[in-house]
Amino acid sequence: MSLLFAQLLTGLADAATLFLVASGLSLIFGVTRIVNFSHGSFYMLGAFIGYSLMQVLPGMFGFWASVLLAGVAVGLIGVIVEICVLRPIYRAPELFQLVATFGVILIIQDVALFTWGADDLLGPRAPGLTGIVRIMGEPVPKYDLALIAITPLVLFSLWYMITKTRVGILVRAATQDREMVGALGVNQAWLFTGVFFLGAMLAGLGGAIQLPKGGADLLMDFNILAAIFVVVVIGGMGSLPGAYAAAVLISVLNVYGVTYIPQSTLVLMFVVMAVVLMIKPFGLFGREEVAGEHGQVGEPERPIKPAGPRGRLMVAGLIFLLALIPLSGSNFAQILTTDIITFALFAASLHFILGLGGLVSFGHAAYFGGGAYVAALLVTHLGANMEIAFVLAPFGAALGAVMIGWLCMRRTGVYFAMLTLAFAQLIWSLVYQWDEFTGGDDGLVDIWPAAWLNGTSVYYYFTMLFGIGGILALRHVAHSPFGYALRASRDSTRQAEATGIHTKRVQWAAFSFAGAMAGLAGALFVFSKGSVFPTELEIAKSFDGLIVVFLGGVKTLSGGVVGAASLELVKDVLTRFEYWRLSLGVLIIVVVILAPNGIVGTLHKLGERLGMTGKTEDR
């Protein structure tokens, strides 16, 4: 009993950091509608800056001053990010901004590596709070008690600021109707900047305040990212008490989980999230989102037409050129192109549901990695032929997508995105922790193609056949009645339902089809590498897909493919340099600012302006 209570206290103390960081994310999303992927990076910077300050400022006063100053410093960094990176692209299509924040993650990673080095830093203990207190006979660190006391204070001050002050009223008004607030004479730009300052500051405080319990390392940013998204979703988007309740729930369950069911640690919070969303669709304290809020922002998409003779000729020419590559005899070029085609198919499948369906999936890697693992598991455990494993892989991924899609399809918008993320993480942690079956962290190796395909050039043509075939199939379906029904469901659910289209069923089928195609890409991948590791199922892999789809142009048919090819090529060049993340991050942000319609979309416009392509009517 006393142990249970002590564990409860540990959980409450852990909740402090989670709440601080998550409430910042929630505020930023609520007001600006930006899904800030770089929030974990702000948290990491808070820890590093706090650490450095604590080396300089002595004593108890110095410790707490360092925490506060770290928060302010990170807040100011947030302001810089908002002004330089996000402000130029507020008018871009919805969620486009998350690409820019991804660029920020990369930059901050390299800046942190450059400034603080690659070693993990052990956080200093808080002066005056180093000891323990015995509560019901169990030792409880004094610092934990301090954290337990501080968090409700922060919650209360935030709540007071939001509900009682003028700034708070503006923030809440902006959450509900930005346009109206602008019309009433409020300078939105500065309101957004202010909210970014506050949000980033909370993340920085969270990073600094956990130093005595954790420390600072370069993996903090991604490690906390999933957790804070989960907290925000469980609590309800934009609800501070919700974020607190969810942070406590997750932290306490986590403490118990570690003690009693250690295998559950990675999955636990996602299971909790899935259960909460099944019962309370908008989180514990969230309200239903106003319909249309997540509709298409900015210019509507142009009508699509199948490629004309000129377009087909160009594609045929490109395929012909690709087919010539093995003749050059360069192994490197063939392997690079194989990677590009595989990744392009993955991106095209994500683009299919994201662009045409308007369904933002944050967990598409589950089907890519899923396909790869299905093939690898068949080969490893059943000794299946490569051919059979290859054919079954897309079906395995599709089966997963059918089940996960069925569960996620009940929600829309950000909640849908978060559910897909949760299930992807669930699959990842399953693979990661089930050592004896999936090989865990060591992955599955020795998954080679059949003898007749075992050769770089042969496999290259094999990849071309299925990879490009898959991309063309996705493209064709976009022009088919099914693709039109999918776009109709996205454009106006109301009209589609009122003319006999079962929109959820159409979207569910599209989600499963996209899953199958991602699985095909995964199967191509695993046999080209000969191995597969849990990294192929990670959030980072899902994000890679999102980034290239947006970068290529979400409102254009070929956006995914072009984005994937460009990023893969650029990465190949940049990774040869030491600080490649920094350069890639800067490059992404530059592209995002210069080409807010994505690469293909912007090229289209440029072409129109130069009179090269048929001009569509202007508004």
Binding site: Q296, P300, E301, R302, P303, I304, K305, P306, H476, V477, H479, S480, P481, F482, G483, Y484, A485, R487, A488, R490, D491, S492, R494, Q495, A496, E497, A498, T499, G500, I501, H502, V506, A509, T616, E617, D618, R619
Partner: protein, 259 residues
Amino acid sequence: MSVVLRVDDLSKSFGGVQAVKDVSFSIEQGELLAMIGPNGAGKTTCFNMLMGQLKPTGGEVFFKGENLTGRQPRDIWRMGIGRTFQVTAAYSSMTVVENVQMALISHHRRIFSFLPFAHKLYKEEAMSLLDLVGMSDQAERHCAILAYGDLKRLELSIALCHKPSLLLMDEPTAGMAPTERFKLMQLTSDIVRDQNISVLFTEHDMDVVFTHSHRVMVLNRGELIADGSVDEIRNDARVQEIYLGGGNLYQKAKAAKHD
């Protein structure tokens, strides 16, 4: 004439608010029935219940003898009822003709077809529907850049896709210029007459109502307070009381013209 739609004691309450209370009426084949009433009278709530967007808290709706209460909008559409919205809803990423083709594809149950090119399917049928509402010259235009009145006409042609025997139009002329209103309603009544379709529509413009409808129902605070011919309604004391605006102006204007 035969009854197309019969509504029995339809009711809807939102929490404590009784939005629609025991409304009963029926529509006959080929009839143009107007539903009028001040804002908040429950007209749109009625419509949403007839089309399945809302579940009634009481009462039943029969279409050609078949109970449609509580069915999904898409199922009700399949039974042969078309609808247009108060706020237009078209597929903004498609061309005008593709919008119509989409509805035709759905009507012919080809949604889950993956092989043919959608833009080639039922093109002629779609063009003749557009021709009917005078939109064929704009068929290839991008839907997002259409003028508001044209969108309304496009919606009408979409609603006619599956040859409905009943058309529900929620404020078909809202937000249109006066001359446009008359054109659209004239077009509607012509089509209705030619194809023997029944129409139930809501409208705030009494000129439109009195010129084009065969029968008028008046809704106030969720209750049906009058149901009769145009002349009956116009001379109904209660209706005049509630409609102190529209009806009186119409009469004054008419009197002024006669002077």
